[in-house]
Amino acid sequence: RSFPERSESHLIFVGLQKIKEDVPSKNKKSQFVSISKNYRSVIRACMEELQQNAGKRHMTHIVSILLAIELIWNLCEVLFIDAAPAGSLLLHLLDWVRLHKSDVDARAREVLQSDSPAHHQSYWDVVISLVLQGRVDEARQVLSKQASLRAESSSVFKRMDVLLHTMPIFNPTGTQTLTEFDVKWRHWHEECDRCLQDNTFASNRHLETICKILVGDEDTILEQKELLSTWYHFLVTRLLFTHPTIKPPDLHYYAQSSMSMFLGLRASPEPLDIILLSAFEFDLHQVIKDCSIALNNWWFVAHLTDLLDHCKLLQSHNLHFGSNLREFLVLEYASGLFTHHSLWQLAVDYFDHCPEFGRVYLELQIERVPLDTERKAIKVLRICEDRQMSEQVRSICKIMAKRALRNNRLGSALSWSIRAKDAAFATLISERFLQDYCNKGSFTDLDLLDNLGPAMLLSDRLTFLGKYREFHRLYGENRFSEAAKLLLSLMTAKIAPRSLWMTLLTDALPLLEQKEVKTQTTHALQSHFTLDEDIESTKTELLRLALARNLAMAIVKEGTIET
């Protein structure tokens, strides 16, 4: 399964962390609402993708979890993030219900597109469903199909049409205050009640039912259980027709009673119901806790809690609790990401935004990322280097160096040792290079050796290796006096390893025969070799002879030129 929602939500998360503290809270609120909507669209996109692949049993299970998650998130957005005041609150709740009960639209379409809508078996179900959702204009539209048929009863339908048409809906952006709206609504409510008392709709039981709903008769609304299908739909409908100016703190009274009334005595609430109830009770802690347990989905609780924390909603509890809970959940989510072969890179950003334990979690987990390829190792290294995780850098480079050495890739091993700043290992590998040279007569990895630069100074042996290669290069380019001077400086600096002195002598000999090599240099080289005591004595003798001969030649030549 690909995880597009992981990378999308990762982007949203990172964007959220960047919202500055000093932005005025009013602007921030709209930003937070927007972010909340972005997260929800990620959930919906995921659901749509899964539903397209529907048919597999465990997919439907996942889809139902996602539905629950979106439902809860949406409610949290309405109640906590948008935090709508009385008036708007009910409108938002209506939107929430409408969004999660979308079968009404399908049925309405089916009815309206049929040959004779008024005679369709679902006709009245559709009308009532629309009324229950407060979609009065659409209800009127469907009702008009009926009215045109029965001329004699058209006055009754006209009456209902008027009731529906005049139902006051609060306009948050308008000039009307909540109090003014309330007055208007009560007038309308009384009007509906009068119709019932006058038996206006006695001739049509459906219209009578609708009128009772408009009046807010709880028993009648409850009778529409099948059309409502959930207790929270019942709650919102109930509020719409009895208490449209409901204030947030008063919600929980109605929520609890709605749930009890709807479920009745036999049915017991499911985990989802409990979570929604906790939300209506504005008990955020309970919502998060129950979601963590019931939904087994760290993605959801981590991102939602993080957003709520940014809205400063978790701080109403004691100070440590809030940030610890958010960080705990984000760490948990990110740790899960880390086990994935490609998503682990997303996890890094999450850890970066966990001030208390993020760094140590990242340190512990990143060094366990399998270093399958050099490319992957470099990716991991960059992350560590960017964060000054020097011990992890050293360790990863060491592991790569060791692995390269085992596979006899000396150049790679050396590069990694240099990157690890591991002088001891660099020394060891330099010695292997030199051994190889002694055995084969040539160097490998010339590119690397020629371009060591200041890294050469990491260890004496490495410096020698670099310089010795340079010596060979100069020699190859026939720059003999420079080569000789370099060789001399190597001997003077005493960084030539003992094991190589014979080799160096052998290298020096042909040099001494070169014309450009000055007498002075030759003298100095000779004195170095003669002062040495460790070389086998016969060899020493031979060399002394050879050197003496060369020196003699040089003197003769110089002498010849002078005279």
Binding site: T339, V360, Y361, L364, Q365, I399, R406
Partner: protein
């Protein structure tokens, strides 16, 4: 969510230990058939046995990996009173094609006069150090002074624990605030020395290990012990497999004076105790971030334990091994070993079935 997968290990006798390498891509198993097997996880996600060889002349009790900074190195310990260090050598190209690799013995440690019951490498910041414990109650700490030469090990410390030892665990913390610390568990039935877990700490001045603490409340035989990864906390967390699962918190107490010598004193608290296995618990193993503890027991189950943000520990999952009922005694546990390098995967060696091994991965 976990998905169980079974791998036929083809050991000819009980499997006593299973160990992941540092990156979770290699695995080693050891058995009463005296051999060790190494398994590699291929690109296909399947485990392939890439080496199998006789390591000892007795049951092999434990096998453990060195940190990859030291190369591909394993250590094993056995009833034959020895511990051994093995290194993988890069083989011929046709070996590679066949997917086989060779391991050669670098050294045998023969100091113990009794069965060597556990072998562990010390944390890498201490260098290349190997620790063994034996049935005669001696813990030995060896060091390889030249990490490139695995044949040379010198015995640096011998700690006499007075009780038959069954398991050891190093505190992985590399913080300078914590001196090196090792926990030793005992399965001795001796009642005189009733505390079956001892903590030893290294003293910079005396250059020796001294006993810092004995967990007196652990009176039953201890089968496994594991320090949790440290996370920069000032206190230490230690899990113990005994007749139940126990998690201890060790809080170092402030020294009275700056010059006071002697090991650190600890306040010991029980963080959690679980008897859900309702039988002997054989192994405990932490994940990388110490947020998850796995335990295996004679009830044939692996249980996962997790703390919430309020530090309350709860069981977060139960996994059955091969599902066969447990019978027999001693080490014939249905699930004898657990290795949890990450929350991602966990490996369990099924000893009673003898041959099979179940691998459990997140679904």
């Amino acid at each position: 969510m976990f998905v169980a997968k079974s791998i036929a290990a083809d050991h000819k006798d009980l499997i006593h230990d299973v160990s992941y390498d540092f990156h979770g891509r290699r695995m080693a198993t050891c058995s009463s058939d005296q051999s060790v097997k190494v398994w590699d996880k291929g690109d296909d996600g399947e485990w392939h046995c890439t080496a199998s060889w006789k390591t000892h002349s007795g049951s092999v009790w434990r096998v453990t990996w060195a940190h990859p900074e030291f190369g591909q190195v394993l250590a094993s310990c056995s009833f034959d009173r020895t511990a051994a260090v093995w290194e993988e050598i890069v083989g011929e190209s046709n070996d590679k094609q066949r997917g086989q690799s060779h391991w050669i013995k670098r050294t045998t440690l023969v100091d113990s006069r009794t069965s060597v019951t556990d072998v562990k490498f010390a944390p890498k910041h201490m260098g290349l150090m190997l620790t063994t414990c034996s049935a005669d109650g001696v813990v030995r700490i060896y060091e390889a002074p030249d990490v490139m030469n695995l044949s040379q090990w010198s015995l640096q410390h011998e700690i006499s624990c007075k009780l038959s030892c069954s398991c050891i665990s190093w505190n992985p913390s590399s913080s300078r605030a914590h001196p090196p610390m090792i926990a030793v568990g005992s399965d001795d039935s001796n009642v005189t020395y009733s505390g079956k877990v001892q903590i030893y700490e290294y003293n910079e001045n005396t250059r020796k290990y001294a006993k810092a603490e004995t967990l007196m409340t652990v009176t039953d035989p201890v089968h496994d012990i594991a320090f949790a990864p440290n996370l920069g906390r000032s206190f230490h967390v230690l899990a113990i497999a005994t007749k139940d699962v126990r998690i201890f918190k060790l809080i170092p107490m402030r020294r009275e004076s700056a010059n006071s010598s002697g090991p650190t004193k600890f306040e010991v608290q029980v963080m959690a105790q679980f008897d859900s296995h309702n039988s002997q618990v054989w192994r405990v193993s932490w994940n990388i971030t110490s947020t998850l503890l796995a335990s295996s027991g004679d009830d044939g189950c692996v249980r996962l334990w997790k703390a919430n943000y309020m530090d309350n520990w709860k069981c977060t999952g139960i996994l059955r091994g091969d599902g066969s009922p447990v019978n027999g005694s001693g080490h014939a546990a249905a699930l004898s070993a657990v290795g949890v390098p990450a929350a991602a995967q966990m490996v369990v060696g099924a000893a009673s079935a003898g041959r099979k091994k179940a691998q459990l991965m997140p679904g």
